[in-house]
């Protein structure tokens, strides 16, 4: 069996750093450093997990890979002709519009023509199990319903590199299973995936390799169970001790 790292590289990040001025202060301590020199390679058809605590720069990394943000320094190279898209819940839903209109808008923003988007709508309505609520304004939806609509709309994206940000941890138990299964089908096929999650079990089940990010740097990278074990150990070590 060939190693993942023998496969062709889809995307490479080379000493990527991102910082921005956070406050009004014009001095250097007003500058917020999110990523501080992150380097890694993403190989064809692999599923790469990214773990780390809140606010360490995971979402920023996905945004850089999706071309939404540009690194302050360093380089991101994507194989020519390939596309990457961020699969995230609720593509900026407008509360006053119906689920149907929002789904149409989201599908078109992801590159479909109006006709193609219309063809998706039935599929979205069925998979999301929203029934008649599909025609109601999204502002009347419960958070679970919004999540179902968001996940289903996002699932339709067809891109070479799928960047997934915390999408499987929503909805009720029944929908969560269904979502995970749908996601797994995508991952098992010819799909390169980067997966950000706090759910260790999911990372373990889905990811070939995992990167652990801490303070804007890669703390550990490699075989998923090893990285997860290290991560868990560090979390326990850093737990505040009772007085």
């Amino acid at each position: 069996m060939s190693l993942i790292t023998d496969r062709p590289v889809m995307l490479e990040m080379d000493k990527v750093a991102l910082s921005f001025r956070a406050g009004k202060s014009s001095f250097d301590h007003g500058v917020h450093h999110v990523l501080k020199g992150v380097s890694f390679k993403l190989y064809e058809n692999e599923t790469l997990g990214i773990i780390g605590r809140n606010g360490v720069g995971k979402t920023t990394m996905l945004r850089i890979m999706a071309g939404i943000l540009k690194p302050t320094s360093g380089r991101v190279t994507m194989r020519p002709g390939k596309t990457a898209s961020l699969l995230s819940l609720g593509l900026g839903f407008k509360g006053d519009l119906s689920g149907r209109d929002n789904a149409l808008l989201a599908a078109m923003l992801q590159g479909s023509t109006r006709k193609e988007a219309r063809a998706f709508l039935q599929e979205i309505q069925d998979f999301s199990e929203l029934g008649d609520s599909f025609e109601e304004p999204v502002k009347t939806y419960s958070s679970g319903m919004r999540a179902r609509l968001g996940f289903t709309t996002a699932l339709l994206t067809h891109v070479d590199i799928l960047l997934i940000d915390e999408v499987l941890s929503v909805g009720d138990a029944h929908f969560k299973d269904k979502a995970q299964q749908a996601m797994q089908e995508r991952i098992c096929g010819q799909q390169t995936v980067v997966f950000v999650s706090h759910a260790e079990q999911q990372v373990k089940e889905l990811c070939d390799r995992t990167i652990w990010i801490e303070n804007g740097r890669i703390r550990n990278a490699g075989h998923t169970p090893t990285v997860l074990a290290d991560y868990r150990k560090s979390l326990q070590a850093n737990k505040p001790q009772p007085d």
Binding site: A22, R63, A66, L69, M108, T113, R114
Partner: protein, 260 residues
């Protein structure tokens, strides 16, 4: 992004803004007509009944106000709304790399739909107050095309500035009030008593020129000054092209500005 997909997105976004707006208010689409009519009523009460400014007779003054205010609302509402449109799309911008000009363009496009309904009402008002329709009214078409270009140009500039520094949003509100008073909406730029001053305002303030052109065409059947109209069109096109390029070039910088 391909240009066809870009315009498809502008169009669908504009339609969705229309739908969302109409569903928010009980009177829905009726507000398109009510708002300018109510403004005209307010101006009429203040300037004609209280201040006696409309010495020329109420019908003429009302038509004069209607032409000015209907046209001005198109500009002020679109530019104010478009200026905040990129910042307001924060959720979307954090998730997908789209051309940022899409948002102000969608607002401008939506306002175009709106005006397609509002302008016929203006024409009816003008006719009701004793200014019959005439073939000369066709001169309004080039005026409206240039006006639209001017609105798009201002919308793009406004949205870019607000994206860089949010405080510009306050300046733009103030700027709209300034333009309301300086563009000859409730006073006649041609009745200033000094032809040089009139000339100066019409040349320097494109908005005053466009509003005046509405009245000249609809009320007095006089075609607009094509040299000035042409100059405004060229200026607007240059600004639109420059802003499109700038927004494309700084797309990710704008995203960072919006998200942080």
């Amino acid at each position: 992004m391909r240009i066809t997909q870009y315009f498809r997105l502008v169009d669908i976004q504009a339609r969705m803004i229309l739908k969302a707006d109409a569903s928010k208010l009980t009177l829905g689409y009726l507000w398109w007509f009510l708002e300018p009519l109510m403004w005209v009523a307010v101006f009429y009460i203040v300037f004609n009944l209280i201040l006696d400014a409309g010495a020329r007779g109420s019908a003429e003054f009302l038509t004069f106000l209607a032409c000015g205010k209907f046209a001005f609302i198109w500009f002020s509402k679109t530019v104010s709304q478009a200026s905040n449109s990129i910042v307001a799309a924060q959720n979307l911008i954090g998730k997908i790399n789209v051309p940022k000009s899409l948002f102000p363009m969608a607002v401008a496009h939506e306002s175009l739909f709106r005006q397609c309904a509002v302008y016929p009402l203006l024409l009816v008002i003008v006719m009701l107050f004793g200014y019959p329709a005439s073939p000369m009214w066709l001169w309004l078409l080039p005026v409206l095309v240039v006006y639209y270009l001017m609105i798009v140009a201002c919308a793009l500039v406004g949205s870019y500035l607000v994206c860089l520094v949010r405080d510009f949003s306050q300046f733009i509100q103030l700027g709209m009030t300034f333009l309301l008073f300086t563009s000859g909406i409730f006073w006649d730029v041609r009745a200033l008593g000094s032809p040089e001053k009139t000339e100066l305002i019409l040349t320097l303030n494109p908005l005053a020129f466009i509003l005046d052109a509405h009245r000249q065409v609809l009320m007095y059947q006089i075609p607009p000054d094509l040299a000035i109209l042409g100059a405004i069109a060229v200026g607007a096109i240059v600004i639109i092209a420059a802003m499109e390029l700038l927004m494309r070039y700084t797309s990710q910088y704008l995203a960072l500005k919006v998200l942080t």
